[in-house]
Amino acid sequence: MFTLKIHEYQAKGLLQQYGVLVPKGVIAESQSEALKKAGELGDGSCVVKAQIHAGGRGKGGGVKVCRTRDEMQSAVDEILGMNLVTVQTGPEGQLVKKVLIEQASKIECELYLGLVIDRQKEIPVMMASAEGGMAIEEVAATNPEAIFFENIDPNVGLQPFQARRLATRLNLPNDTIGAFSKFATSLTDAFLTEDCSLAEINPLVLTDQNQLIALDAKINFDDNALYRHPATRELRDLDEENAMEVRASEHELSYISMDGNIGCMVNGAGLAMATMDIIKIHGGEPANFLDVGGGATAQRVAEALRIILSDRNVHAILINIFGGIVRCDLIAEGITEAVQDSDIPVPLIVRLEGNMVEQGKKILADSKLNLITADSLDDAARKAVNVVTKEATK
């Protein structure tokens, strides 16, 4: 399972289809492509923007304002291929493969406009603020009364009076209320039609031409709705995602890598989180979250083991399965089959509980495989931590 994020240029392209105004721009993957396409933008100032998913690009040096063609060329040169480190990328940074070059806008004021699903209200909510350019979390923390909200009925969309109310609260001049209403309505239409989980325009700028333009755009999509948006699925950029998490999602395994050395394979997301927690309680560090799902067949177990083992930091694997409807003896057969077929270079600790657990344990014991069996959650976590501690002191 993944959260589909897209690049700024893709978000702007999508929003344009809904009538949102964006700066005129071109996308380039090379210096020559940039030069060829820049002609379309005219001779005025432009902005070169690194296209990576992470935020904080400006502070990391991934956004440059250029007054001349020469400046643009050197900006493109500098940004394309750079390893951009921002507050969101982590210290390893992200390789920039594309730049967006846009006409610069003459800005009168900067606003914030966003849509999210409010979990408490259980509907989408539009947020607007005159503090554009700042992270909305920061505004919420320091100046919460500067954020205005409108509840969106998902069957109706943003109603005209709601848009006018926001425009007035933002202190926009009277002659821009119409343009703001159109912008906010278009953004809401896009959010609802495309099944977004987040749509954020920061900043939304009022230009000296009295136009409202999306200077930046960030859109995330609801994974669960992607089946009905084939075009959106095409926007996915695998370079931006953790390779192992991608591979796991292809096998319908839910996997998230972490920094520890005890790999985990668990059935059920809640129990998987709890297993990570109990490893920590016993003084260990989990290497991953992995939900193998309900049917822990030999094939799924084998694929999960491969994914866990591709993390070189893993020194032991804890398998924790609660057989509900699924029978532990079948799961035990799946585990033994998968382990026999693959070469597992680290100790395996197996804890089975639930339906037909005695038969399951017997199968594990009779298999003569080098498995460490555990009788409870505590026992399993303790054994896993002991094993990696022993390895470390060898």
Partner: protein, 295 residues
């Protein structure tokens, strides 16, 4: 007694004749649940597992007087099946499906509210009221019946197998359950912790409650407020995900710490402040609940 469901509940199965519907309907019937019919569009007029099949919920309600429905309809069509049940006048709707689009759920939730129904789930194991003594139990869901035992502990949880873990710890200590409710792991769910805690508080046969929460959202914090203000029965809790990294969805669509919100630490703190005994380990959920009971 119990909450929400008893052996008298008349249950309709939506998506009755499909693989999941068939498998779990059989298990529920074996447990004692009164399944009075099912709905599969295009199969109306036939019989399945000895019960009548209908094309629509409205028709099924008229013919069977069902008052509870469980839907096994796959995620892309699940919200529609919830709205259909609510509109037909079903009072309690249980939705198992994982992966329903969030906006579909926002719409379904509004419809459920408008029709005065109650929804449990989605992305949940369902509800079970285990049998007491020689009586019949009622299982409306996909949980394994055999780990449960009739008694006086209410269980409410956002998760599946972790709930089974908690229940089996209770049963191992001879602490039977009045009713166990899985409210589901999605960002928008039909019933909240607070909704279910309220029912347990009002139920004479529930003496104490186990609540199993996880990271993401603020349902546990809201429950803590309710517990502090209204609840007189002892509550034990466990919150999963103390080690979960921020910004990552931990399997469940709703299990994510974002913008510093929804952390396990904040939830544990809120619950402890409300007088809840929070187990620090998932292995000690049963023990923590037992420590709250008079010995």
């Amino acid at each position: 007694m119990s909450i929400l469901v008893t052996s008298e509940s008349r249950v309709l199965v939506q998506g009755f004749t499909g693989g999941q519907g068939t498998f779990h309907s059989k298990q529920c019937m074996e447990y004692g649940t009164q399944i009075v019919g099912g709905v599969t569009p295009g199969r109306g007029g036939t019989e399945h597992l000895g019960q009548p099949v209908f094309n629509t919920v409205t028709e099924a309600c008229i013919q069977t007087q069902a008052n509870v429905s469980i839907t096994f309809v796959p995620a892309p069509f699940a919200a529609d099946s919830i709205i259909e049940a609510a509109e037909a006048g079903i009072q309690l709707i249980i939705c198992i499906a994982e992966g329903i689009p969030t906006l579909d759920m926002a719409r379904a939730k509004a419809a459920v509210r408008a029709h005065g129904s109650r929804l449990i789930g989605p992305n949940c194991p369902g509800i079970i009221t285990p049998a007491v003594d020689d009586g019949r139990g009622c299982k409306i869901g996909i949980m394994p019946g055999f780990i449960h035992h009739g008694g006086n502990i209410g269980v409410v949880s956002r998760s599946g197998t972790l709930t089974y873990e908690a229940v089996s710890q209770l049963t191992a200590r001879s602490l039977g359950q009045s009713t166990c409710v899985g409210i589901g792991g999605d960002p928008i769910v039909g019933s909240s912790f607070t909704d279910i805690l309220q029912l347990f508080q009002e139920d004479n046969d529930t003496h104490a409650v186990v609540m199993v929460g996880e990271i993401g959202g603020s349902a546990e914090e809201e429950a803590a407020q309710y517990i502090a203000a209204e609840m007189t029965k002892p509550v034990a809790a466990f919150i999963a995900g103390r080690t979960a990294p921020p910004g990552k969805r931990m399997g469940h669509a709703g299990a994510i710490v974002s913008g510093g919100k929804g952390t396990a630490t904040a939830k544990v703190k809120a619950l402890e402040k409300a007088g809840v005994a929070v187990a620090d380990s998932p292995a000690r959920i049963g023990k923590t609940l037992q420590s709250l009971l008079p010995s």
